[in-house]
Amino acid sequence: MSSSKNLSTSKLVPQKILLVGVVAIFLSANLSFSEDRLRDVIDGHVESAWKTNKLPPLAQSSDGEFARRVYLDLLGVIPNYAEIVAFLDDKSDDKREKLVDKLLNDPRFAGHQAEVWDQVLFGRNPPGYGTDKRSGFQTWLRERFKENTPYDQWVKSILRAEGNTVDDGAPMFFVQYKNKPEDATEAVTQKFLGVQLQCARCHDHPFEPWTQLDFYGTAAFLARLQVVEAGKKNKLPMYVIGEKNLGDVLFTGPVTEQEVGKKGEAVKPKFLQGDPLEEPELPKDFKEDRNFPNGKVPPKPKFSRKDQLAEWIARADNPYFSRAVANRIWAQFMGRGIVHPVDNMSESNEPSHPELLDALAAAMIEHKFDLKWYIRELVNSQSYQLVGSGELEDALPKWFERARTRPLSAEELLDSWNVAVGYEAIQKASGAKPSEDRYAPLGSGYLMQFFGKPNNGVGDFQGGLHEHLYLNNGGIARLLSSAKGGLYDSLVNSEAPWEERVDKLYLSLLSRRPTTEERETFVAFLSDEKDPRTRVGEAIWVLMTCSEFRFNH
């Protein structure tokens, strides 16, 4: 197995001793802990939790295992044959760190991170009309990652809903919750603050401090939003978010005590667990047009409640904001949040490593929400680079005592299959124009049906019977093309010994060389027949559909 051989030079135990030494020196020199590298701080906390829980230290991942993991996590795709061979053959000590730097500067990094966040903010089946076509938003988000715009800044843009949905993208977020300030409140607090207020919508929360007035106090900030159609552009309806000067959410008390025809009381905006918003009074005789005209950018209100909320949410000293994002990105790379699930940070759902979470949130603030810096520290930690194998059945180990096993997303699967079989090279060799379809050649219909929607929202693995029927019975036949330039062609028409060809097969699909037993088994399978064509196709299919390919581990 990949994990049992070729341990990297950085064995854990000596590293740990070294780390303790470093910390001791820093402390004695009266330097603050935060001046230590975050990656070391992470390892210190993770290891001390192992000790507390009497868990044995673990070995580090093999190079192939690490490369595949970090390519998938940073770029959303496995390394191609040339990339993995180059990395495995690199003899330098710091090659992992160099690889991380290279991948963080790869244009695919921005594309993949934007797709991850697009799923956080929209999901596979977003509510609202027109939100399924949001290339404006997706492009805008990709630019944010390309420029490494600080997280607090781009979140502010989303919440202030600046610009339009086609050119700027950001306002598309609120289009999901058109005329539904309560839904918008649930989404905003859950996605950006990591807290769940939905119970408080109908009754005071049974286990948490949230009251119905917390919920409606937050909803009051969003009660005046309107989704306004501002003409068309690039054949897409263009929306902007307008905000009125008047309008309130009405609170009628617990839902069980509701009566037909009972009108609620207007609730004033109040910051979550904080002060009421101070807002200027409107003139007594103020009158407002009932509706914004379509096709025009609406005028700004005299006083924007929404902007006040945006500023408050994304403030560094907001007690929820920095912890929520530090925890969410931690979970993206480490499998589970220190508070898990990541959008339920509450008193009843305690962090597994409270001091580590404090340290991560503090680092996030100190580095001004620089996500690229934060991600670099995470993936350079020893904790991220542990082996993926072991006896533990939990896919997302609570004490991070093994790398997590997470399924590839629909996009990651497609891109990885394409890279493995040389789809791009086949297209080039055939002289065909590159497809503009993000989901070529399998198409988004089947991909979403079998791999996308089953994992919607919560991220649980739902790949059951149906995905195997698709994989077994012809769904991926297009990727087994025998055309010039592809993996299949290069294996069938090679003069090299089968041993070498099997190595290439494994490196192309599983980012590692086969074990001796695997090599022998595959060589026997492939060289058994006069015409190996069918068998090569079958062998590629086997590695395309196996668990080792299906998961990032």
Partner: protein, 424 residues
């Protein structure tokens, strides 16, 4: 969770095991995925009963005024007449003559009072017992039944839908309990059938098994195990493709079920139940009669009621009815007032559902609406009460809990009451 290997669950009571879930609640959402000691043991205990369930799903919401709760002579009554049934004193709509002759098998609930008035919300509610909530994927009733009444390693999936409505599926129960959906015509979903030469398929499978085994020897994560198990299930499905071919049997049963698409679906459901599938949902669409309510019901009810009665008779003749619960419901009822397009709109303050078989008291009407059918007069039944009753009839404790994170979620919502009066 190593305890799952332990065979002692035979000796442990279910109550004790359910308590055990509280102690292990910190394990997170994954623990529900069929791998936990408590869940498995509970499943083993319940499975002995061999109970089954067929859900007849009236999509769009059939009218209570045109079926079981007519208001003859009242302003809210419709155009149809009432007929007597084989249960003295109980009368139903003239569009259901076959059901009328089998009323002794049915317990009708005339006092449904539920909380979701539109289709998506109602379809979710009446498939799960819960209103939609962001961040929680509630399992459909079929997923719950598949988990507690299904058999491991069966060739047929444990949760089958024919003309599927609702897309919540297994929710947090995990991939093992996902529905397998046939088309309205009973066709298998795309890619269900292998077109490979069996020699090639088994050769390919042997190589794949080698690869999977070598990965599994070092990687024990349960998601990967589920992936392997699902692959095995996809191959086993090839063994039973004949079960889905009903043309031959249809010729014999066409008269009993009535010559309709819904009748064929019901026959398919009976075959699947007989083959050991614990849950089959059969859909009919659409009762959403905002206009021309009476025309729609005149078209939809006769084939439906004929097939429904035929199904119960067929199950009874085979000795299956006493262990097969037949549930009849949609997501909503319809308004007392007839609108200016001769339609009835959505209504959930008072409407009707029905149960039969599997320990249900036949020939019974439970609950009552007021004289115009505007509100429930007696014995209101909430969605939670209805689900609790279904689970109780099937021998599954309605208080059985699953966890998402630290939040306990019973299969019927907290506070639901079993309607014991409709059970034997």
């Amino acid at each position: 969770m190593h305890t799952m290997e332990c065979p002692t669950h035979e000796h442990v009571s279910r109550r004790a095991l359910l308590k055990n879930t509280l102690a292990t609640a910190g394990g997170g959402a994954l623990m529900n995925w069929g791998s936990l000691f408590n869940s498995k043991a509970t499943a083993a205990e319940v499975k002995k009963n061999q109970k089954r369930c067929i859900l007849l799903w009236m999509n769009g919401g059939a009218s209570q005024f045109e079926t079981f709760d007519m208001k003859i002579g009242r302003p809210t009554g419709g155009l149809f007449r009432e007929i007597s049934t084989n249960v003295p004193g109980t009368r139903v709509c003239e569009l259901m003559p076959t059901i009328a002759q089998n009323m002794d098998k049915l317990a009708v609930i005339r006092s449904m009072k539920t909380s979701q008035i539109d289709h998506p919300g109602g379809i979710h509610l009446m498939h799960t017992g819960y209103s939609q909530a962001s961040g929680i994927r509630f399992p459909e009733i079929g997923g719950v039944i598949a988990k507690y009444l299904g058999s491991e390693g069966s060739d047929l999936p444990n949760f089958i839908k024919i003309f599927s409505h609702g897309n919540t599926g297994a929710g947090f129960l995990g991939p093992k309990y996902q529905p397998f959906s046939l088309s309205p015509e009973g066709r298998l979903p795309s890619f269900s059938t292998s077109n490979l030469n069996p020699v090639n398929e088994s050769r390919r499978n042997a190589l794949r098994t080698f690869v999977e085994d070598s990965y599994a020897s070092g990687h024990k994560a349960e998601t990967a195990r589920m992936h392997r198990e699902a692959y095995d299930a996809s191959r086993r499905l090839q063994n039973v493709q004949g079960v889905f071919k009903i043309d031959g049997e249809w010729d014999k049963y066409r008269d009993l079920y009535g010559d309709s698409a819904f009748g064929r679906r019901c026959l398919m459901a009976r075959r699947l139940i007989e083959e050991g599938v614990p849950f089959v949902e059969v859909g009919q669409s659409s009762y959403d009669s905002h206009a021309d309510n009476f025309v729609w019901h005149r078209g939809l009810l006769p084939p439906m009621e004929r097939a429904w009665a035929g199904l119960m008779i067929d199950l009874e003749q085979r000795g299956l009815l006493e262990n097969t619960l037949v549930v009849w419901m949609g997501e909503i009822g319809r308004t007392p007032n007839v609108n200016n397009r001769s339609g009835r709109d959505h209504y959930v303050r008072s409407w009707s559902t029905a149960l039969a078989g599997c320990g249900v008291k036949g020939g019974l009407v439970y609950g009552e609406s007021d004289e115009n059918g505007v509100d429930v007069k007696d014995n209101p039944v909430s969605e939670g009460d209805f689900f609790a009753t279904i689970y109780k009839a099937l021998g599954i404790d309605p208080e059985t809990e699953h966890y998402t994170g630290v939040r306990p979620i019973p299969i019927a919502p907290f506070g639901s009451k079993v309607v014991n009066d409709v059970l034997l």
